[in-house]
């Protein structure tokens, strides 16, 4: 008969508790061999491909891409004997854990060898099934169990009391595995007795959102009932189907009006970087509007050029080249503030960062030694960088040691913005949308291709004059690419 084996998420680093499922490399029905790549996961330490422990046919994928999964969770079921005869009476198939977990029938022997972490040290569920002898421990009281906070402070210990009008998020059973996983993991810092926890679960109340009024901040039955009442009047959805999660991995609030999505790695890193940058480097931004008609003509010509047939020529390419030329004329802008040593680090190279919007969030890989590249090499590097970023394969190395960045906000059709510096860099250029506008050209108003540039700089080390010169020179090359011959 078909023999189904589960594969549980292993701890691929030492002591990791969870991982994000990045992408499945196989689909249900695929034939897999031993050690064939099944899935790419991202842990706190690295991106890792998991090889298949079994040969067979992929029977079920138990978690979706994008989900965060605890170590030990079954993620895929593989049928290792797909050609075997079907079970005689059509009973539900026995699923055996691939590594000694729960097994059914005569499949892999069940024992208590491993818990969540399959081997080695780490969290062990098996231990939870055993209890020390009564004599070894004094009688337990609820307070001794909830003892981690030593001070008997009257302040509520519930971590984040909800604002009075805040609805309580609740999981929707229809929303799939990731949603269940997100809501099912209770916070260990919430203090509540088991019956109260049960009540909250039945009512769909997230205890993390309930302020505790009991002694030591314990959440009481009354607190949960009050929270349920608060969310009750807001339960009407304002338009059809808006009570479903809008975003993968999200949890819809009880009133169906909000979706909460856990902050995952890329988003979290972006948030940290932006906060760090915005609140350490005083930003100053300068703007310039420029007639780029000649750049557009150059782009059109390069698109016809045989040498550029293997690349995609865009106005961003010319803007990148123009910025590189401007930096070469004013190399001191390629610098960084080293707060630890109280030094300014001047970089004799340009690692040109390109802010890329990817399905996994914003990443800023950079083109190493962009100042050494000719236009064609730059075009190829730009294409590779973008393709790699979109595929979600940008490596940490590719994102490190940038010097100056371009953010191409123009692709979204907007004029410009005030970009925030990529941490560790001193300048960032926003490249706005290029559109036809009335423009004074040789004394007459003509329709011309015009764009707006914005350059933010770290005012600790870059003064307005330097930034303005770099921006003006960038604009000058974009206005007349022939200038590049003179400066190049």
């Amino acid at each position: 008969m078909p023999k189904y084996l589960e594969f549980r998420l292993p701890d691929v680093g030492e002591g990791l508790t969870e991982a994000d499922i990045v992408a499945w490399k196989v689909a249900v029905g695929d034939v897999v061999t031993v050690n064939q790549a099944l899935v790419e996961i991202e842990t706190a330490k690295s991106l890792v491909e998991l090889p298949s422990p079994h040969a067979g046919v992929v029977s079920r994928l138990l978690v979706e891409s994008g989900a965060t999964v605890e170590v030990g969770t079954p993620i895929v079921v593989i049928d290792t004997d797909p050609d075997g005869e079907a079970e005689p009476d059509g009973a539900s198939p026995a699923v055996a854990s691939g590594s000694g977990g729960s097994a059914d029938g005569d499949a892999v022997a069940d024992d208590e060898t491993s818990g969540d972490v399959l081997v080695g040290y780490g969290t062990k569920h098996a231990a939870a099934a055993r209890r020390p002898r009564r004599a070894a421990e004094p009688a337990e009281t609820p307070t001794s169990q909830a003892a981690p906070s030593p001070q008997p402070a009257p302040a509520p210990a519930a971590p984040t009391p909800a604002p009075p009008s805040g609805p309580a998020p609740v999981s929707r059973p229809t929303a799939g595995v990731s949603v269940d996983a997100g809501a099912a993991a209770p916070s260990s810092t919430v203090l509540a007795k088991p019956p109260v926890r049960k009540l909250a679960k039945d009512l769909g109340i997230d205890l993390n959102r309930v302020p505790g009024t009991g002694p030591g901040g314990i959440i009481t039955r009354g607190d949960v009932e009050a929270a349920a009442e608060r969310s009750e009047p807001e339960r009407q959805a304002s338009y059809p189907a808006d009570d479903r999660p809008w975003l993968d991995g999200g949890v819809v609030s009880a009133d169906g009006r909000q979706t909460r999505v856990p902050v995952r790695s890329v988003r979290a890193r972006t948030a940290e970087a932006m906060v760090a940058s915005a609140f350490t480097a005083p930003h100053v931004t300068v703007f310039q509007t420029v007639d780029v008609t000649k750049t557009m003509k150059l782009v059109a010509r390069l698109k016809e050029d045989r040498d550029f047939a293997d690349t995609r020529v865009t106005p961003l390419l010319i803007a990148a080249k123009a910025l590189i030329l401007a930096i070469r004329r004013h190399p001191t802008i390629s610098a960084a503030w080293d707060d630890a040593t109280q030094e300014i680090v001047y970089k004799h190279y340009i690692n040109l960062g390109i802010a890329a919007s990817t399905p996994r969030g914003l990443v800023v890989p950079n083109i190493k030694d962009a100042h050494r590249m000719n236009l064609h090499e730059l075009a190829v590097a730009l294409g590779d960088l973008t393709a790699t970023a979109r595929a979600g394969r940008t490596t940490p190395a590719a994102m490190s040691d940038g010097t100056v960045t371009i953010t191409n906000v123009g692709v979204f059709g907007i004029d410009t913005g005030t970009p925030i510096l990529n941490p560790g860099e001193s300048a960032i250029l926003a490249f706005g949308a290029i559109s036809e506008r009335p423009w004074v050209h040789h004394g007459k108003i003509k329709p011309r291709w015009v764009t707006q540039l914005a350059l933010s700089m770290d005012h600790r080390l870059i003064d307005g004059e330097l930034g303005s010169r770099v921006l003006a020179d960038t604009a000058r090359t974009l206005a007349d690419p022939a200038q590049g011959l003179i400066w190049g």
Partner: protein, 383 residues
């Protein structure tokens, strides 16, 4: 040719081929060396095929173990990928009575000692503190603490000296001891202390340093101003730098060093320049600190590829390689099956081998622990 300071040549910084003792080039051609060629002259095609088989099967073992970690069957795995020539070449130069103190990546050396490598998996599955009897193959247990075993090796060698098993001229009696460690360990106090003691005592020990370029994420050039083998001269230990991806050169220089040790000539420091092609361990992500270009460069210097090129050029039949692939596949399957069947160890085993003789305190702790554990089991059964 600037290669060693044993034979009066000037040492030189760098890892170009010119700076290394080499007997087999990257493209698989044998080159002559006035000192060392004679030491491999007796290796016929069959012997070379044997070395090739060693390297291929060790790599398969290593690859399977890495995959087993990703399957969740091992807690951790340190790969020896890329270092097969250094380990097989040096290991095959050993005599049965020689004793090896490995660090934790020396799967290839274990193989040459006749150790069933599958036993290594016990420790990395978290079921054993070691996995084998060190006396059985004169191959000590893996040492996870960086460099500490260099002292053990030196002490052991001084013991060999006191047993009178050095310089007797009896090839079955004279013994040498080898300590294997990496570039990072040379920065440790223990290794330096070991070199001091070994030198002044003329201990019959060989310090075999596999310079794989990376101490986890720390490159060698950030740990030393001079090529590592030059550390030896400061201690008065003859030193030699060899192409660690050249199995023949590793064999030759190790054989010379072992002979020096066994004959009473004292210690030798060997720097085998190789490359850790994989991660430090399965918990490490090398893309965070080293470039793709560097990895690509070393991929072209794969120790197995160059011997294969040589064998093909010398007329080894394609059937040899096909049969070896099949053998490796079968070996891989054995490794997987074995790993999954490793039994759960009794907790009380942790009390074994703490002391050679009976020990009252350990005995009383064992008794207490056994009773404590029995209490858990009873309670669990009643539930």
């Amino acid at each position: 040719m600037i290669q060693s300071d044993i034979h009066g040549e000037t040492p030189h910084v760098g890892t170009q081929d010119d700076d290394l003792i080499q007997l087999l080039t990257v493209t698989g051609e044998r080159v002559h060396h006035q000192t060392y060629s004679s030491r491999v002259a007796h290796l016929d095609t069959e012997a070379l095929e044997g070395l090739y088989r060693d390297m291929v099967l060790v790599r398969r073992f290593d690859t399977e173990a890495t995959a087993l970690q990703r399957h969740g069957e091992l807690g951790l795995w340190p790969q020896c990928l890329g270092q097969e020539a250094a380990q097989i070449g040096s290991g095959r130069a050993l005599a049965a009575q020689d004793h090896v103190f490995p660090s934790y990546r020396e799967h290839g050396v274990g193989w040459t000692r006749g150790l069933d490598l599958r036993k290594v998996l016990h420790q990395f599955r978290g079921e054993d503190h070691g996995g084998w009897d060190p006396a059985e193959h004169n191959f000590s247990l893996y040492t996870l603490v960086i460099g500490s075993h260099a002292l053990h090796a030196t002490g052991f060698a001084m013991g060999v000296q006191r047993d009178g098993d050095v310089g007797t001229g009896d090839p079955d009696r004279d013994r040498a001891v080898v300590a294997y460690f990496g570039d990072g360990a040379t920065s440790q106090g223990d290794v330096n202390e070991a070199l001091v003691f070994a030198a002044v005592n003329d201990a019959p020990v060989v310090f075999f340093c596999q310079n794989n370029h990376w101490a986890i994420s720390e490159p060698t050039e950030r740990q030393s101003r001079v090529p590592l083998f030059r550390r030896g001269s400061g201690f008065g230990v003859p030193a030699v730098r060899v192409d660690g991806n050249d199995v023949l050169a590793c064999y030759a220089v190790t054989q010379e060093a072992l002979e020096r040790a066994r004959s009473g000539g004292g210690p030798t420091f060997i720097e085998a320049v190789t490359y850790r092609m994989g991660a430090h361990t399965t918990s490490d992500d090398p893309t965070r600190y080293r470039s793709r270009a560097e990895e690509d460069y070393w991929r072209t210097r794969d120790p197995i590829d160059r011997l294969r090129l040589h064998l093909v050029a010398e007329g080894t039949a394609p059937e040899f390689f096909t049969a070896l692939d099949a053998e490796a596949d079968a070996y891989g399957e054995q490794i997987r099956d074995y790993c999954r069947s490793i039994p759960k160890a009794e907790s009380s085993r942790m009390f074994e081998h703490v002391y050679a003789a009976e020990h009252t305190l350990v005995e009383s702790e064992r008794a207490w622990f056994t009773e404590y554990e029995a209490g858990f089991a009873t309670e669990g059964a009643q539930r």
